[in-house]
Amino acid sequence: MATKVKVESTLPAEESDLLSIRPLGAGQEVGRSCIMLEFKGKKIMLDCGIHPGLSGMDALPFVDLVEADEIDLLLISHFHLDHCGALPWFLQKTSFKGRCFMTHATKAIYRWLLSDYIKVSNIATEQMLYTEADLESSMDKIETINFHEEKDVMGVKFWAYNAGHVLGAAMFMIEIAGVKILYTGDFSRQEDRHLMAAEIPNVHPDVLITESTYGTHVHEKREERESRFTSLVNSIVTRGGRCLIPVFALGRAQELLLILDEYWSQHPELHDVPIYYASSLAKKCMAVYQTYVNAMNDKIKNQIAVSNPFVFKHISNLKGIDHFEDVGPCVVMASPGMMQSGLSRELFESWCSDHKNGVIIAGYCVEGTLAKMILSEPEEITTMAGQKVPLKMSVDYISFSAHTDYQQTRDFIKILKPPHIVLVHGEQNEMNRLKTALIREFEVDPKNKMQIYNPRNTVAVELYFRGEKTAKVMGTLAVEPPKPGNILSGILVKRNFNYLLLDPGDLGRYSDMVISQVVQRQSMHYNGPINLLQHILTQLAGPVESLEDKKLRIFGCIDLTLVDKCVTLEWIASPVNDMYADTVLAAVLQAESVEDVPKSMPSTPTKMDRMHFKECLMEMLQDMFGEDSVPKIFKGDKLHVTVDGKKADIDLEHMVVLCEEDELLQQVVQTAVSKLYNSLSPPKVDTSL
């Protein structure tokens, strides 16, 4: 069995049972999502984001740890920067040559979102990861996939489910050789004003890679959080303050706009207070929201045929800070959501020292951003220019981000029952808490053998799946129903992890492969007479068939023709026939080199001289076992040999030796007899090949 181990170790990557899941980003952190899957020689990258708290090359995931050109497939879950921000760089600046997929809505928004990102990044041009032109040309390399549509890329099957979260957000189910992996991306199981709740797949994945942004938090109810939000906005503007809501330009902002617009229309007293939404990007993407209604919830789907819910009545667009007249109370929604730079930062800096004003952080904040910092309510903050300014405005945090919370995650897992869970996209502590909570939750059930992993960046989770390999037997081979012990021989065709066993004759019928034939014809000079050639060939190959005049068939497969001192060999190519052809060729060359051609050839015995064989056999046995071991005279084809009192019978007709007393003797005599027979008998070739 030692050989077996050796065989296992030399198994090529595509036959190995090892599934490795390695976060290159978003491993025990939030931001720069990028997870590598490797299984059966296929390499798949899930998301390719940047870290919002870092800039330039530092913001990239650890993609230098993988060979970009070996990646077969890249799937983008949704359009947020921490999931697709590095994509133009990856597509344009690396050797990646696989295929890249995202949903229609994601692709349409991705184009404008990243173009906006390029514009607002305040880093020097040499540090820019990519330009507008790179982004533009990356569009051609991105393919689209509809929800539930099944795609197959070189044997990797995958399809997308609605993930809630933002428009076009997808969860990907990936199936490689029967093993299913579900990558949730960011998801939310709560239906909101325009998005549907994340779908629950109807197949059970073997591995679940899920986000853990909110760890063990439980979101407050939608109604509660909405009313808390609206009353907070109301109180800020009625106390005469300005209300700043830093938001990510697309995604949750649309939800907040729907809420505010509705609230304003219900409260006529607020009509004097303007609501601004400072985003040209959102304006640009309006058409996208109008078009891809099929990715939204049923309410919107029904409504869009009548009127467009995204035509706001109380909200004005603000082109930039230059167009903004800062007089009196107002509500401003501005991007970016974490106030790293841009308009939301500018407004915050100019408003933060007035206690009447208020800022409402409505989404998730990454460590290292201003938004995260002010949540700890510091006395002062540092402006972009480096000054220190006191922070007096009210700071509130109402989470509107459509990420799953503990209850949702737990229920999701309960339904899917994945044997392995890999946590990504969450801060270290949150992730640990979630892991512990989930283990505690599911350990009560003794049947459950759920494994939970929370790998750090670049650390791979390695799982073994003994995938079953089944082949389909088709056509002639399958005529007989399978019976144990039957021998099956045929051609095994392997394509995309599917195996097909066929008879060579059926190959054309059941696959697109074609069987071909190659005929070879070799020629050389030969001066000698044909009978010399024939003699040599007969010595070599046994009986030579004479087909017609000057045409011989040797080994039953090589045709030799002698015309005008030129020998031509013709045969159907195959490894064995080629070998025979080379032998014949050698014989021809040998015949050529014979100088004195004898007038008459000794006839080569084509039949075995049995008497001669018997004599030789006697002699040999006497040499081996002594003079007395064999009887001096014998008749017929029976002979026996006696050694140390043990007798072995030899049947010369069938060349079988029998000795019941001593097996060893039987073998020795058998070998001797067969070898002798073979050396004396004329050459014979098994032409069945």
Binding site: V203, V311, K472, K483, L488, S511, D512, S516
Partner: protein, 735 residues
Amino acid sequence: MPSIIKLHAISGAQDESPPCYLLQVDEFRFLLDCGWDEKFNPNFIKELKRYAGQIDAVLLSFPDQQHLGALPYMVGKCGLSCPIYATIPVYKMGQMFMYDLYQSRTNMEEFDIFSLDDVDAAFDKIIQLKYNQTITLKGKGYGLTITPLPAGHMIGGTMWKVVKMGEEDIVYAIDFNHKKERHLNGCDLEKLARPSLLITDAANCMNEQERRRVRDEKLMTNILQTLRKGGNVLIAVDTAGRVLEISHMLDQLWRNKESGLMAYSVVLLNNVSYNVVEFAKSQIEWMSDKLMKTFEGARNNPFQFKHIQLCHSISELNKVPSPKVVLASSPDMESGFSRDLFVQWCSNPLNSIIVTRRTTPGTLARILIEKETSPFTIPLEVKKRVPLEGAELDAYLRSEKGKSLSNIKSEEYSSDESDNEMEQVALGKHDLVVKQEVKTKTGFFKSNKKQFPMYPFYEEKIKYDEYGEIVRPEDYKMTDLTLEAEEEVVNKENVQVKEEEMPAVDINEVPTKCVTTVRNLHVAAMIRFIDFEGRSDGSSLNKIVAQLKPHRLLIVKGNPESIQFMANYCRKSTDAKVLTPKTGDVVDATTETHIYQVKLTDALLSSLEFKKIKDAEIAWLDSKLAQKEVDEVIYSEDVTMSESVLGAEIPTLEPVKDLSLSHHATFINKLRLSDFMVVVKKAGYHCEFSGGILQCCNGTIALRKLESGTVTMEGCISPEYYQIRDLLYSQYAIV
């Protein structure tokens, strides 16, 4: 164990009647399409009715009447209650087709074959799918999966792939289009290769298409000439399928400033035009790559028409200044606005009438195609709905009085409700509201500068309830034509509501009757047939079928000659068994394919030497079927049902130690000498082609390919001979 496959052609075999086939795979019965012809021929429906209870699933290919026309009747009147599978656009547009058809018919006659309730009941049964979404059937259909694949022709158009687990794959593909069009991609043939059964049609088999440019130019010239002369153009199109292609093209033509078309009007006229365009707008992801790309790049929706005006009635159309181009449904001109306009316009030699598809023989459009040279006179049945007058009205009112007392309650409810809604809405033309909305779309937000209210929303607020936008009947009051009933339902369609009581109520309120007169119409207008069917034409159809290489080919639909033509072509070029059933026939398409599954052990696989060839790998395998044993290593408990059930009975293959097994070497691949020449040249040998023979190394070695596919290699003995031979062998996978 091979499955039993039978096909019962209820309609649409060896003729041009609508497709409707009953496909039986073992115990499971699919109804493939459920079409009805333009004249609602009752004969085959009788036949179909008998099977209503036995059908387990309906698969729809396209949203038009030809492919799903009988569905409302079957569901509403015959109790068909199985799930129906269709893509999202087929679902949405199919509804539009049926609403429009119902409305057009009601406008001209007492139509009771199905009601709008039936339409909604039928469409409620539809399970909406995306392309390439695989559905696993349960219960009786255990082991069957169905997958819709893009077919072109109409938005959401589907070729169905039905797979019996691990053995049969049946492809049902009719009326597909392999060519890319303006708004649609061509059909996806890649995933169909070598089906065990292909069900297709030969309807277009004998027709050759003009090139797209020639065709488009023909349409364009025709339109321009007629308009310049001051005539109107009537283009008979369908409700929500091919009309998208033509309307998109016309809108693009009108946008071209040099076309000289800006001065004229172009109108899309059918009962549901507003909704059709709205749905088209939200289905960009189902359209061609090119449209999608422009949308992603420039964010302009291709169905945000700049020039095409939407009309829902003749009176609306009359307000549009002539000369004009009108795209009106239906394509067969048996009903709908296209027939009305034909009656109005055909006598004027300045007008022109364009038919865009070959409809069933006997329909007006088909008669026109066959004549094509005007002027001529045809007798035509003109049906009209007119309000009752005088004595008739009195009699009617008297008889209705008794009836209405009984169901007064429900009526009151519905009319009250609509009355209230009506009052809330300000005066104005409905279409104006629609237009307003279109304009404001660019303004995502409220105008920033309040002092210049560009879009006075406050006055124009669109109110809606759970049924959709509120209807204002004043919008639809007609001044010239007083077809009250029609108007009401037009409103209803516009807002896409589901209250079906309305037409009934209308008839109660304004009694009407239908009159039929036969008139001899003198047709003087120019009649043209321009093929906008968007289906694969004769030669490509044959090529595609031959290329798919089905094991069995079942040809339905199409006249007998074209079916014969296609059958002969396929018998010649493939090894397929060709079946051509007649209507009413039941054909047995069971294949005698032998097939079973085996498990491969790791030890066996690692002993194999795989050779790469194209995208596959092959190896010679000698193996022994192992004795049954309990397989303990199951990697997870959550393998899906099907896998674990199958796993129980799958035999295992093991390697054999017996070395005496031998086999002939097999060379696999199809070599092209021209490709090989490149290889030889790359390896640094001189070679050239002469007379179909590849000469290498100064003519000492010659390669030729015989007709049988055999490659011969000839040459003097030399080192080069062996080197070239090695190169040649490297082109094959040898096992």
